[in-house]
């Protein structure tokens, strides 16, 4: 068997059903092996077992794999060539690292005897990726090839998930040897540490200590992050929260961990979180962080975050997150599903269900008084309105991918999510251009789901080439572009913090006709929505269209994202804007009043 054939066989053994990639010189042997494997293993209907989905740019392939992985929980696979092919995936690899998304990137490399000679399409992938990936392998010993690929999958999916890169010199792909079909590389330290986390059960004594904290509390609050989604622990967390009547707010990455339609679900907290969620954080006396890491968009000033919380509990799978930002009085590093099962079981036997009715009543009032809201009377189309209309048709069960910026925050604030893995967004890295390729990957993972890319004009431009990928594979993805002619979030910050100097963020003079662009790329449904009164009808037609659909909505270019807690500010300095009441005036006199500037 050739090295390339071994690579493909390991992919098949790992259960891979889709490869996202772009060919090129140094990866040709493996592309050929995939072709031959597919040719020999078609199913009765003639379908290929390992279809290769070809993007416009390798960055697109990386985000498709990320979207696939986020929506399915399985490892996304990218196959690219050396040099530029590999470096084009640096952004998605870093994005996957920052959001703990499991992908494996296989990239060609120049032959081992050429490495370091500045050969054609050579890049120091192991050095570049070493700083951004969970791990990177450079295969120099062909006898270790198959075990390396297997180990890459193991590392990507275990512990705190992340991206693993395997650099594959061309001579290694062309090497002929015997396929073992089994075997992993020794990574003794990593496995031992994972095992320690696996073995770290939540003991009765620790359950007791946790329930003691809960028993002292009158206002507990669960702050759930992406770790809950990654651990597939949403169901058990919901059972726990329901059993004890503990409200749940989620981070941007944790959206879907709780059902946003439920009374005790407080939606998203943080910089652009719901005002009621942020007030609940201010009011809570016991903060239970679950798979969340107190990042700067949530806890810009850690000491002032949840200032009335007498106690903090922290569950995570990564020991490095415990105490990194905020000290926890009680913490546990372990397997989340098992840990909450243990808490529930212990609680049934030993704990009384506390009475949080007063807290629930306060929260109900907060949710009513400080609900998300916007300028409903405006003649201009408000983005929030478009998303509300869209949300009426999805039932909280559509997959929503986004780019980065204002539209991302509006989608986070106004879409409902009944389940986890429906919300695909670049949280930590904040990569513009994420949405469209992520939606493509998610549609491959879930062919029968409604997948919508809620995008901005600027974010969409970043990976605009992937519009053609949507129609090439006839994916029924809905691409919704909220066009405010510029980098809206940048403009919002420039208005707030730079006296309105819109340095390089205004795109109103750009001439692109997005609808024609979509039509040119083969979208049979491509419409522009400019009249407010048309919103309900057009959104309904757009969502209901069978097949790829593109809708550009010309929105109020001055619409802002509210609420907003400015960078480096505390929750009591939250600006709620003109349409959401505020519990207090901003206390810092230097805080500009954003609303008057919009």
């Amino acid at each position: 068997m050739s090295g390339a054939e071994m690579i493909v066989q390991v992919l098949a053994d790992e259960g891979v059903d889709t490869i996202f990639g772009y060919s090129g010189g140094a990866i040709l042997p493996t592309y050929d092996a995939v072709f031959r494997y597919n040719d020999e293993h078609r199913d009765a209907a003639g379908r290929e077992p390992l279809p290769i989905i070809v993007p416009a740019n390798e960055q697109g392939a990386g985000f498709m794999a990320a979207g696939y992985a986020r929506a399915s929980g399985r490892v996304g696979v990218v196959l690219v060539t050396s040099g530029p092919g590999a470096t084009n995936t640096v952004t998605p690899v870093r994005d996957c690292m920052a959001d703990s998304t499991p992908i494996v990137v296989l990239c060609g490399q120049v032959a081992t005897n050429m490495i370091g000679t500045d050969a054609f399409q050579e890049a120091p992938v192991s050095a570049i990726m070493g700083s951004v990936a969970k791990h990177v392998f450079l295969v120099t010993d062909p006898y270790k090839l198959e075990s390396t690929i297997r180990t890459a999958f193991e590392i990507a999916r275990t512990g705190r998930p992340g991206p693993v890169v395997v650099d594959l010199p061309k001579d290694i792909q062309n090497w002929i040897g015997e396929f073992q079909g089994t075997g992993l590389l020794p990574v003794p330290g990593y496995r031992q540490r994972n095992e320690a986390v696996q073995q770290n059960l939540l003991t009765a004594a620790r359950c007791k200590a946790f329930f003691a904290l809960l028993g002292e509390s009158k206002r507990p609050l669960i702050y759930a992050g992406g770790g809950v989604v990654n651990a597939n622990a949403s169901a058990v967390l919901r059972r726990f929260a329901d059993r004890y009547g503990i409200p749940v707010t989620t981070t941007l990455m944790g959206i879907g961990a709780a059902d946003t339609t439920q009374p005790l679900s407080l939606r998203m907290l943080g910089m652009h979180g719901a005002a009621f969620a942020n007030y609940a954080v201010e009011d809570c006396d016991f903060l239970i962080a679950v798979g969340a890491r107190f990042d700067d968009r949530v806890a810009a000033i850690p000491d002032k975050f949840a200032p009335r919380a007498k106690r903090v509990a922290h569950f995570d799978v990564d020991p490095a997150e415990i105490g990194k930002v905020k000290k926890a009085d009680w913490h546990h590093v372990g397997v989340m599903i098992r840990d909450f099962d243990a808490l529930l079981a212990w609680g049934e036997r030993h704990a009384r269900v506390p009475d949080f009715q007063e807290w629930h009543a306060e929260l109900a009032q907060l949710k009513k008084t400080y609900a998300n809201n916007y300028d409903r009377a405006s003649e201009l189309i408000q983005p929030n309105y478009v998303i509300e209309e869209m949300n009426r048709h999805t039932g909280g069960r559509a997959i929503i991918a986004t780019g980065v910026g204002q539209h991302q925050m509006w989608a986070a604030q106004y879409c409902d999510f009944r389940e986890p893995r429906l919300w695909l967004t670049s949280g930590s890295m904040g990569t513009m251009g994420f949405g469209l390729p992520a939606a493509i990957g998610a549609q491959f993972a879930n062919p029968d789901r409604l997948v919508i890319d809620v995008d901005g004009d600027a974010s969409l431009r970043m990976n605009l080439g992937e519009l053609e990928t949507v129609t090439t594979y006839d994916l029924p993805i809905k691409v919704l572009v909220l066009n405010n002619f510029g980098d809206g979030m940048v403009k919002q910050w420039q208005k707030l913090f730079y006296k309105g100097r819109l340095s390089a963020s205004d795109k109103s003079l750009r001439r692109k006709d997005f609808v024609k662009a979509a039509q040119a790329d083969g979208f049979r449904y491509a419409e522009r929505l400019e009249k407010k009164s048309d919103v309900p009808r057009v959104v309904r037609e757009f969502i209901g269209f069978k097949g790829p659909a593109f809708l550009e909505v010309i929105i109020d270019p001055d619409a802002g994202v509210y609420p907003m807690i400015g960078p480096g500010m505390a929750y009591d300095q939250m600006i709620t804007g003109d349409f959401i009441p505020s519990r207090s005036k901003p206390t810092d006199g230097s805080t500009p009043s954003g609303s008057s500037m919009f």
């Binding site: 450079l138 990574v187 003794p188």
Partner: protein, 167 residues
């Protein structure tokens, strides 16, 4: 506070880079770094000296343990340990100072490797502080042309620390 961290590392392509890169990307200091294979060629021992608050050192330790190649690590400064550093020192020794230079070398337990006046070379294995003092003394007697230091290495006293674990 100053910490000596001993890391057992898998001998893989790029492993050392990943450790060094962790320090630079997260803004941690490295005062010194020394690395060499262990008795098992599959593993290297890396000793690094870093300075940071307790919170920073705690993060360094935890982040190091997230690197896949790191087999194990130990913060030597948390327990009783032996610390040694190697100094190679080259001097130009003036005629008048010859005897005093040789006396000092003998008294401090250094060893002469080259006794020519123009390239007088000695080695000293000791703690960082004593090496500092020795270099200072010698600089008052002769003209230093080169100072080469290995950076500290450390070993826990008593039972072995950070031993390889079975796969």
């Amino acid at each position: 506070m100053r910490h000596i961290i001993s890391v057992l590392l898998q001998n893989e392509a790029g492993a050392l880079t990943r450790v060094a890169s962790l320090f630079s990307t997260r803004g941690y200091n490295i005062d010194s770094l020394s690395v060499a294979p262990t008795e098992d060629p599959a593993f290297s021992r890396l000793t690094l000296v870093t300075i940071g608050s307790d919170a920073v050192i705690d993060q360094i330790n935890k982040q190091l343990l997230k690197l896949i190649d790191v087999v194990s690590m130990a913060d030597m400064t948390q327990g009783d340990h032996i610390e040694r550093e190697l100094l190679l020192l080259k001097l130009k020794v003036p005629e008048a100072a010859w005897d005093r230079v040789n006396d000092t070398v003998r008294r401090e337990g250094a060893r002469v490797l080259d006794d020519s006046r123009a390239a007088y070379t000695v080695e000293l294995t000791s703690t960082g502080g004593r090496i500092d003092a020795f270099v200072e003394k010698m600089s008052n007697l002769a003209a230093i042309t080169s100072v080469v230091r290995s950076g500290p290495m450390a070993l826990a006293r008593g039972a072995p620390a950070a031993a390889p674990v079975p796969a």
